[in-house]
Amino acid sequence: MTNHFIDFANSDVVLIMGSNAAENHPISFRWVMKAKDKGGIVIHVDPRYTRTSTKADIWAPLRCGTDIAFLGGMIKYVLENDKIFKDYVVNYTNAAYIVGEKFDFKDGLFSGFNAEKKAYDASNWAYVLDEKGIPKKDLSLQDPRCVLQLLKKHYSRYDLDTVSKITGTPKEDLLKVYEAYSSTGKPDKAGTVLYAMGWTQHTVGVQNIRAMCILQLLLGNMGIAGGGVNALRGESNVQGSTDQGLLFHILPGYLPTPSASVTSLAEYNKKYTPVSKDPRSPNWWQNRPKYMVSFLKAMYGDAAKPENEFCYSWLPKTEDGKSYSWLDLFDAMYKKELKGFFSWGQNPACSGANSNKTREAMANLDWMVVVNLFDNETASFWKGPGMDPKKIKTEVFYLPCAASMEKEGSISNSGRWTQWRYKAQEPPGKALPDGDIIAELFLEIRKLYQKPDKKTPLPDPIVNLKWDYMTNHKFDPHLVAKAINGYFLKDVTIGDKTYKKGDLVPAFAMLKDDGSTSCGNWIYCQSYNQDGNNMARRDKSDPSGIGLFPKWSWAWPVNRRIIYNRASVDPTGKPWNPKRVVIEFAGEEKDGKYTSMKWKGDVPDGPWYPLKNPDGSDREDGKLAFIMKPDGYASIFGPGLKDGPFPEHYEPMECPVEKNPLGAQLTNPVAAVYTTAKDALKTCDPRFPFVGTTYRVTEHWQTGVLTRWIPWLIEAEPQIFVEMSEELAQLRQIKNGEKVVVESPRGSVEAVAIVTKRFRPLTVQGVEIHQVGLPWHYGWVWPKEGGDSANLLTPSVGDPNTRIPESKAFMVNVRKKGV
């Protein structure tokens, strides 16, 4: 999330799309309602009329998986009706860049597509550079090859008729949303977007979000109070666990995982440290080597030295071009390529797409370790439906762990607030905190490597891993939190201050690439420093008046509450909207020129001068707004993705239509697909005529492991259901409350039918399309009558960039049980 929950109240228009915030993030909705109370407009775009819709001023239905068509229509509307915030667009985005002649879009494909490899060559999407190596610009935005004109051309096809034909949204509803949201393209107006898995779980997931980013940039909504692009994430610490690098492609702090071809630290730094030829670009990632070396020091301690490249070679390397993502992991497990498996605080037997494939894959393992609070479908997969324990060789170790109130530590919410929590009771029975289990298990593993024989491959990273995180034989979260923050490893003088060996590093600007600092995760540097545990702060003051609460807990990076906030001011450092000030330049001024550097408000995105002086003259030392982009400008044209620089509507991999009215290409040509017998996909197959989707209810959470056993919650929502329209119920002779079977090409579940007006048939390309939806909180272990996982239905296909599965749009049949 670029902004944070309380900030929703600062919005003039709140667009909720791909999310049911009122039911799935109920407390976030308090701040949406505060925006509404102040006269703001709330818009909900969703296939289903939910409790979010009931509170919205405008609800617009759409067919699952057609968000880019919907948003593409809005981009066209904004451009053709001149709703853009031009000063913002020119100064802070790449709208003026000139794109090279090789870029083109034809027949549903961008230039550079290799049909054999099913991949694009992105070099076709490069900018035209000037003699200094900086992209050429046309600040008038008129050049036909400038980004804005190419954008206009690309979305010229997204007229109301075509969009409505694809999405099924009535044209008048499209217009209502477009008009309301585009009203935020003014300096004193803010529009925000709240999304969730309704946008990510698609084979065009990243491009769904990109389409909205483009709109937010055109309307000048990034970096401002009440603006931003805000993912409502699903788990209390999924932000933190991502930050800490528990994903195959990133180390902690978003340092890319090295691949085989990056054979040295020097090469790593060269490959992943961007260079900008524009002196006004802060290009923050130019600091990457400091963060990488400090990370390696945190991992390997004294063993990491300049002469051994800080043990860079010990880091495991992926094969170039090979993905090790969730879908790939279970594909490999299904193909018997894996022998051992840890399922730590997760229930993949129900949580991932295509549960039958996942469950069968587990039977191919030699051993697995499951750590959880309650029995679950993963731990007990060997006695699940269709399984014969006698035939399953997989050994299972089940380890009981503590709940959140039985240990101490920090978690990071979607708004990047990292909050410390305390222990309120001992865990029950033999259960232990995860930290203790990890710490003890590793000591036990390490014992086996202390006296390696010649055949033992690379014992060094195990033997030398820094592992001094226990106090009195108990895992000590404070010691790890300090290691994550980082230490000076020798006396270091920075400016006029000397830090002693062993001092905590105050903030990441002080990290070094020479081995004199350690830092487990650079974006958390400052979280636990000389001022103490900043994550535990509980000061309720809010001098900003816009709900920043700068001394309540701590937010990464460097306690900045709204990121990209340099875009909230004009090029002279004055807030675009004086009524909702995020930051403001407050340096001294003489004869129309700034003479000292000072900002007030939120922690600015860097301390530098603004781009211009008060008299309008350019400052050579002024810096551009988007500090994490190598060139300093936000990307309306995004050449870094695998499926094109502009979002294009493609159908879900399973869809109810044979044609895409926007082009010859029906589905995303570079989507991640798998080919085992369990990976069936059926488009326009009369056996699976209805669009299916999945979602959550207020009373349950994820696969339900932590809610199905809670008496109040299971009483409120005891079993799986399937919602369907009255028209569909009539078609299939189904009555409200009856047991029905929902089946897809991959599996089936029994569910209770809820016949409701919340779903309505939509007219798509002249045909009536029905949609049904199921919650995915249930599993066969408990409660016995609760039903099984809705993910038995979902396909294991993924977005080409993130490889997140397409769980939100697939094809099903619904029939009465026994018919």
Binding site: L251, P252, K383, A403, S410, R421, A424, P461
Partner: protein
């Protein structure tokens, strides 16, 4: 005005009784004070953050100082995000602390067995460590086909966990990477 608990329950049976009675000039402060002491009398208050969605609501746990058990939880009124309010899941959180269905034992399921066996932590750590070593060493690639150093364990995978604290996540990734794992994934991917 003195009220017994029975009296209070009687009058609180009516909807919006508080407002109505205060409107009639009755002072409900002693009642409020009394009811607040009922469950959490002598309890220790511990601030926490909800473990469900990612909003990060503040929760107060009340622990019985005699038994050491959590007996109640409520929204943290000081917390700027939720200001004391909670959703259905957050409001039920003490039932996660007080729950007789929680797993309390280390269990093992042997190959082709149809049941769990109870084990000790010491046994589990040793046995898991043995399997990790055996699988890691047998599936470890020092150099790939191109001769590039990859130092990678191909045969073990991990998923998890967004349900852990940051500090636990960090040492977990450290352990997995020290072992050479590349199949490292979790909830964020799905």
């Amino acid at each position: 005005m003195k009220l017994t608990r029975r009296d209070f329950l009687k009058i609180s049976g009516a909807a919006t009784v508080g407002l109505a009675l205060e409107g009639m000039g009755l002072n409900l402060k002693p009642v409020e004070a009394y009811t607040a002491t009922l469950r959490i009398k002598d309890a220790k208050e511990t601030p926490s953050i909800c473990c469900y969605c990612s909003v990060g609501c503040g929760i107060l746990f009340h622990t019985d100082t005699k038994t050491g058990k959590v007996i109640y939880s409520e929204g943290d009124a000081d917390h700027p995000i939720n200001q004391g309010s909670l959703c259905a899941k957050g409001a039920s959180l003490y039932q996660l602390a007080q729950n007789d269905k929680r797993s309390t034992k280390v269990l093992y399921r042997a190959p082709n067995s149809d049941k769990w066996q109870e084990k000790t932590w010491e046994w589990a750590y040793k046995e898991i460590a043995k399997r990790v070593k055996k699988t890691r060493d047998a599936t470890f690639t020092v150099k790939n086909e191109k001769g590039q150093v990859v130092n990678r364990c191909n045969g073990i995978a991990s998923v998890g966990s967004a349900a852990m604290d940051n500090e636990e996540c960090w040492i977990y990734q450290a352990m997995l990477r020290a072992l050479g794992l590349v199949y490292v994934e979790h909830q964020a991917r799905i």
